[in-house]
């Protein structure tokens, strides 16, 4: 019943039977929506402006800057001229690229392997993935396993532990199963093997869903914090969120490890607010860059997604 393409109908005009909106109602609605939008945009604006402000502007404002005055990129120069932040950005980029490639290729392969009901072991294998939704392995055994395998202080500790999202797998699989079987059958008659069918026929038809799932994985890897806290002791190998935490929140709350954070290169001069905010901006940028691609699919409303039918 509820399974529709979900395209948000363009309600460009009010139907004749609908009463005209009341003035207080309209005002209330727009006040609420404006507040919600500003609640997201104002902090982001302030952070970006502060990161580009000179020491003098920051002092005049007494902290966070709302009104830009001049343009001073020195904070960015400082953090990218080496030291902890530059290293962390590099680590996170590698982690995100390697992790996403790993997760996405395994997920796509398995989604295709499970896209044909009635194939050998189809049900038990599908079940193996679906049950991960219900079974919670627990923090301690996972920690012991990852450390026991000697993965501590490697990026693989951050990749393996959450490499496959059963949800993503199921979404891609559902998409694959909707591809007309005639296409696949005709390719098979032409002598294509399964792998060839996947790469030449199925994947080109599923670019959008694969891209979206890839972006979900990428955002997950870029945002990893807690696993880094668990598995990466060596602060030369910290990903960017871990560094952000030690920079910004450490002033508020001491580092969660309880030991004073040593920041090679910048220990001598405590980071000014502009440098801190520049780190924040650097951490946001990938999310903001990646976002328009995913977002198109959201607003098009192609996504009733998981609302089952």
């Amino acid at each position: 019943m509820r399974r529709t393409a979900g395209a948000s109908r363009s309600r460009s005009a009010r139907p004749v039977w609908e009463e005209p909106p009341s003035i207080p109602g309209l005002i209330g609605k727009w006040v609420v929506l404006t507040v919600i939008v500003l609640a997201v945009l104002v902090p982001m604006w302030s952070v970006v402006v502060t990161s580009l402000s000179s020491r003098q502007t920051i002092n005049e404002a007494g902290g966070m800057v709302m009104v830009p005055k001049g343009f001073d990129p020195s904070a960015y120069v400082t953090i990218f001229s080496g030291g902890q932040v530059a290293r962390a950005v590099w680590t996170s980029v590698i982690l995100t690229v390697v992790g996403t490639a790993f997760s996405l290729s395994l997920t796509v392969l398995a989604a295709y392997g499970l896209s044909r009901p009635g194939s050998l072991l189809h049900r038990p294998l599908l079940f193996l993935f679906l049950l991960t939704f219900l079974i919670y392995p627990g923090l301690v055994p996972t920690y012991l396993l990852v450390t026991g395998l000697g993965l501590k202080n490697t990026i693989w500790a951050l990749i393996f532990a959450g490499a496959i999202s059963a949800f993503n797998l199921v979404v891609i699989r559902a998409f694959f199963m909707n591809i007309p079987s005639e296409l696949i059958d005709s390719a098979r008659i032409d002598g294509a093997g399964e792998f060839r069918i996947l790469t030449r026929i199925v994947m080109p038809l599923s670019k959008a869903v694969i891209a979206v799932v890839g972006l979900f994985y990428a955002v997950g890897y870029w945002n990893v914090y807690f696993n880094a806290l668990l598995y990466i002791d060596d602060n030369d190998m910290w990903p960017v969120q871990r560094v952000l935490q030690s920079y910004i929140l450490a002033g508020q709350s001491p580092s969660v490890t309880g030991t004073p954070v040593n920041l090679p290169g910048i220990t001598a001069t405590p980071p000014t607010l502009a440098i801190k905010m520049a780190v924040v901006v650097v951490t946001i940028i990938p999310a903001v860059l990646v976002y328009p691609f995913v977002q198109r699919h959201f607003t098009k409303g192609v996504i009733t997604g998981a609302i089952k039918g």
Partner: protein
């Protein structure tokens, strides 16, 4: 697809696929008769493709699940050179870890905080995306609606570190708000370090991060409501609010029930990073939840048996909760998370 229901476990992360989950109508036909060897010859490429992911899930999900058995041991990580040797060498103590856990007041504090936060967010967070979706749906201009949507979805992609950083910079003691209040000659207060209002703070953070994202699923459900119902109701004299009550809300009901079940099943998880990041600022009393309890009392102190017991407790309670909630949903005539089999 009797299991299709499980697709919905994170309904929010919808993706363009999933327009239908039914798949091709029963193709290929039943080939149960085919001998195993022939099926193997036909299907081995599919098996080979599934194998890597299955292996990763087996090793990193199911092996730790079995590893929970150390909850019944006085597990000593130094008894052997690796976890397996230590496991073999460690002494079995039955329910000793559970006794220690249940007699630990810190555990009960953490459990109480967790349940309080779940309950609080159920009341003060859960309904908000529904309101937002209804509001957004009433915006006539497609352009303005798309703009608002892109803005409010964005924070979902921020890490918790980033979200809390924003809150500190805006509302913290040295943040924008405090700084403006000081300029105005008022005494600023610091909500970021106040344990008494912590539950409000974490809910506000959750709202900021996920309000928009949470509305997606309701927007989709709204657009699936038959417009003729509204017209018929209007013709019958139902006003705006009557239509909301008698058409819109019933149309959303299955989704609401589904998300409620999932939330209930997850009652013991309120998120990890959000709390570990703020625990130092507001103190253990307010910010310790079950997950951070395990981190600080098992991993940091290497009391692995105790931590496994807490994890097992959480897993079992979570499983029972979700099965019970689902059963209840079936009783009430809803579909629930997975179909009755």
């Amino acid at each position: 697809m009797s299991r299709a229901g499980l697709d919905t476990v994170d309904p929010v992360v919808a993706a363009p696929a999933a327009t239908t989950v039914t798949g091709r109508p029963a193709s290929p036909p039943r080939r149960r008769r085919m001998p195993l060897r022939a099926r193997l010859r036909r299907d081995w490429p599919l098996l080979a493709m599934t194998a890597p992911a299955a292996l990763v899930v087996l090793i990193f999900h199911y092996v730790p699940t079995l590893g929970n058995i150390i909850a019944f041991q006085d597990y000593n990580p130094f008894a052997g050179n690796n976890p397996v040797e230590s496991f073999i060498a460690s002494e079995w103590i039955g329910f000793g870890n559970f006794e220690a856990l249940f007699s630990n007041p810190l555990f009960w504090d953490a459990l109480r905080n967790t349940l309080a936060i779940t309950a609080f967010q159920l009341v003060f967070y859960f309904p908000l995306p529904i309101f937002l979706a209804i509001l957004l749906n009433s915006v006539m201009s497609a352009k303005i609606r798309a703009f608002i949507q892109s803005v409010v979805y964005l924070p979902h992609f921020f890490s918790w570190v980033l979200v809390i950083t924003f809150f500190v910079q805006m509302l913290g003691g040295a943040g924008l708000l405090a700084q403006e209040l000081r300029k105005a000659g008022l005494e600023p207060w610091n909500i970021m370090t106040n344990p008494d209002t912590f539950i409000i703070l974490v809910t506000a953070e959750t709202v900021w991060k996920d309000l928009g994202w949470g509305a997606i699923v309701f927007l989709a459900a709204l657009s699936a409501i038959d417009q003729n119902l509204y017209e018929a109701a209007a013709v019958d004299g139902a006003g705006r609010w009557r239509r909301l009550w008698h058409v819109t809300l019933p149309g959303l009901r299955p989704v609401i029930v589904l998300l409620l079940i999932l939330r209930l099943g997850d009652a013991l998880s309120v998120g990890f990073e959000q709390f570990i990041l703020q625990r130092e600022a507001v103190g253990r009393q307010a910010a310790e939840v079950l997950d951070t309890f395990v981190y600080y009392n098992a991993i940091v102190t290497q009391q692995y048996g105790l931590g496994a017991a807490a994890g097992l407790f959480k897993a079992v309670v979570g499983l029972v909760l979700i099965l019970a909630a689902n059963k209840l949903a079936h009783r009430l005539g809803e579909q629930g998370v997975y179909a009755r089999s």
